[in-house]
């Protein structure tokens, strides 16, 4: 913070504020959603116990709304630090560097999504290998063929262990014609 100029500090503070506010608004919204879900259950379920299935959703929803509102005050005051990416040298975190870091986060997240979507059609080994390589790439590795090979060996070994040693079949991929 020491070497930071006023001009640099301003936008980052506002960015923190916006992020924190968005999070607290999300909490309030989620709280309202939870309470609404409780409302949908209706009231006729609690004839003798008095406390039916809708009571806890109301309480938790209210809790989330209250906490969210109180946190939004912190957020607007700017006392709540929310940073999506950082580097060691904070004042050197130029816009491109910041976005590069964030894009790496996106890469790992993409790996997770790829794994979830492709595990059924392509099988465990292929989807895990892709996730593996995307993750190593995000962590700065440049040896993509090597990483793919490592990932394939690793997930291949796990696949064999699970399917043959434990009798817990992992998906082998529907597009390869396997069952």
């Amino acid at each position: 913070m020491i070497g930071e100029t006023e001009r640099d500090a301003e936008p980052r503070l506002s960015q923190k504020k916006v992020s924190a506010t968005v999070i607290s608004v999300a909490l309030v919204a989620f709280g309202l959603f939870v309470a609404h879900q409780g409302y949908l259950i209706g009231q006729d379920q609690s004839s003798y116990a008095r406390v039916g299935p809708q009571v806890f959703p109301y309480m938790v929803g209210a809790g989330l709304v209250i906490v969210g509102v109180l946190l939004s005050i912190d957020a607007l005051k700017g006392t709540w630090p929310v940073m999506w990416a950082e580097t060691a040298d904070e004042h050197a975190l130029s816009r491109p560097a910041y976005w590069r870091q964030l894009s790496n986060v996106g890469l790992v997240a993409l790996g997770l999504v790829v794994n979830a979507f492709l595990i059924a059609p392509l099988g465990f080994v292929v989807s895990s290998t892709l996730m593996f390589a995307l993750t190593t790439r995000a962590f700065g590795s440049r040896r993509i063929p090597f990483d793919l090979a490592v990932g394939a060996m690793f997930s291949g070994f796990i696949f064999l262990c699970f399917t043959y040693a434990l009798g817990l079949p992992l998906p082998s991929g529907t597009i390869w014609g396997a069952r």
């Binding site: 806890f56 979830a116 993750t135 699970f162 992992l170």
Partner: protein, 505 residues
């Protein structure tokens, strides 16, 4: 038969070369399978049960004992090293254990877990032999109202994991409880927050949230700060085994954990998660260095690990004395008993003393084997952390995905994992602690169900929580646990101020 004689007899039955081999095989297999993510003790025992089908009953139980303890310990290993808890009762272990691993004390964390498990397992096995019948009489007195009081007590432990900001800690807690509402309400069969998605009807597994928030969330967070955290993970720092200081700090938590865990395990609806949280918060309160908690305090591994082992041994109390299976693993063990035409229950101690005492002795043997096998291995496991960071985290993600997938062989769960991973990342960026959410998810549904059961039985009379002696006592303890620390702190600071005032005047 006298307890001591019985135990000696049990050892005489169990201690043969062949049986020792089965114990070793059981512990090895149990650990090996338990280390795999998503395969908890219950599934491990179910998977390996056919292996025991051809053995004599006593050999089979000895192998079971080994598998049971091995699987428990195996899932702690991944909690500590990879931050991917394989089952609910090792979630707490991940909090401090993984921090220790990152600071180069992974081997010490694994060692304190192994020795703590051994100590607790041993003590609990003795307690099982000595007190099983009397403990179970007491345990049966617990009704829903009393369990609800226990949940309230457990909720007070949340203070130990709230972090720096009360509000943010509470946000996390409420988030966890809200996630716990998803699924069919047990009392009325109504679906709640399930959005007409059949996969959500059974609610959300704690392990998915824990792996998502801990392992996946952290991977995303580390990527976003990779230059900043460049040299964070150190495989081994200082000596590999526990230092003298770590021994000194571990032994009391081991003993306390053993004492806390056993009765919870013995309670039909007690379980192993709640006592691990209680142990964690107790150790934090009693520790001379509470500021280390959250950064890798060895007490936070030693206590909960001893507790969970003690609790899983306690689970055998209702199983053996009443034939009540109170956990998934116990249900499978019950099936194993029946495979041999044995019916655990009030009559088992009289009708098959050989087997009962043999089983108790073999649990003990399983414990010793666990220690023998895992202490040397601790040094091997931590070398995993020397893997270059890109590959370590990529491997963790593959393991996390594998573990969550193999829970129910469900792609939907993998999607949920992505969502929770991103949530974990957002929470870390916003400095919202993740542990309260997991505590909320574990305790919330239990507390709600017990609360509503109690009110149904009392036909809506809320005074039931205060008129039942057990419930009233526990609620009082909870109140003290909540109010006492701030009060003590207040008086201490006042006295300090007085001293300071006198000194300055």
């Amino acid at each position: 038969m006298d307890v001591f004689d019985g135990l000696m007899h049990g050892f005489a039955v169990a201690l043969t070369a062949g049986n020792l081999l089965w114990a070793l095989v059981g512990v090895t297999l149990g650990t090996a399978v338990g280390v795999l993510p998503g395969i908890g003790p219950a599934l491990t025992v179910a998977l390996l049960m056919p292996l025991t089908a051809k053995l004599e009953p006593i050999g089979a139980f000895i192998m079971f004992g080994g598998i049971y303890y091995g699987a428990m310990y195996g899932s702690s290993t991944t909690s500590i090293l990879l931050n991917t808890p394989g089952e609910n009762s090792s979630v707490v272990t991940a909090i401090e254990g993984n921090q220790m691993a990152k600071r180069g004390r992974g081997a010490a964390a694994l060692a304190t877990a192994a020795i703590g498990s051994f100590v607790a397992g041993t003590l609990a096995t003795f307690a099982l032999a000595l007190f099983a019948p009397s403990v179970v009489t007491l345990a049966l007195k617990f009704g829903p109202a009393d369990y609800f009081a226990l949940m309230v007590l457990a909720f007070t432990t949340v203070a130990a994991v709230l972090g720096t900001s009360l509000l943010r800690g509470l946000a996390s807690l409420f988030l966890g409880i809200a996630i716990g509402l998803v699924g069919i309400d047990m009392q009325t069969g109504q679906a709640r927050m399930a959005l007409d998605i059949p996969y959500l009807l059974d609610g959300i597994e704690v392990v998915i949230l824990a792996v998502g928030l801990f392992a996946v969330g952290e991977t995303l967070f580390v990527v976003s700060r990779q230059k900043l955290l460049a040299d964070q993970i150190i495989p081994i720092k200082g000596q590999i085994w526990m230092t003298k200081d770590e021994w000194r700090r571990s032994w009391k938590p081991w003993l306390r954990g053993s004492v806390i865990g056993f009765p919870f395990g013995a309670l039909p609806a007690g379980g192993a998660e709640i006592p691990t949280f209680l142990s964690y918060s107790l150790e934090r309160r009693l520790s001379k260095n509470p500021e280390e908690f959250g950064k890798g305090a060895i007490e936070g591994v030693a206590g909960p690990e001893a507790t969970n082992n003690s609790a899983v041994t306690g689970v055998l109390v209702p199983l053996l004395t009443l034939g009540l299976p109170t956990s998934a693993t116990a249900a499978i063990m019950l099936a194993a008993f029946q495979q041999y035409g044995l019916h655990p229950g009030p009559l088992l101690f009289q009708s098959n003393p050989d087997l009962v005492w043999g089983l108790i002795a073999s649990l003990y043997i399983g414990n010793v084997m666990l220690l023998v096998l895992n202490l040397p291995l601790a040094g091997v496991w931590v070398r995993l952390l020397a893997i270059p960071r890109p590959y370590l985290y990529a491997g963790i993600l593959v393991f996390a995905g594998l573990g969550v997938y193999s829970l129910h062989a469900s792609v939907f769960d993998l999607g949920t994992l992505c969502l929770f991973g991103v949530l974990g990342y957002v929470m870390r960026c916003a400095e919202i602690p993740v542990s309260p959410a997991i505590l909320g998810l574990i305790l919330g549904p239990m507390a709600e169900q017990q609360f509503r059961r109690a009110l149904a039985i009392s036909q809506g009379d809320p005074t039931v929580f205060l008129t039942r002696p057990i419930s009233a006592t526990i609620l009082t303890i909870a109140l003290i646990a909540l109010v006492a620390p701030p009060l003590v702190e207040y008086y201490r600071s006042r006295r300090r101020r007085c001293v300071f005032d006198q000194a300055s005047s």
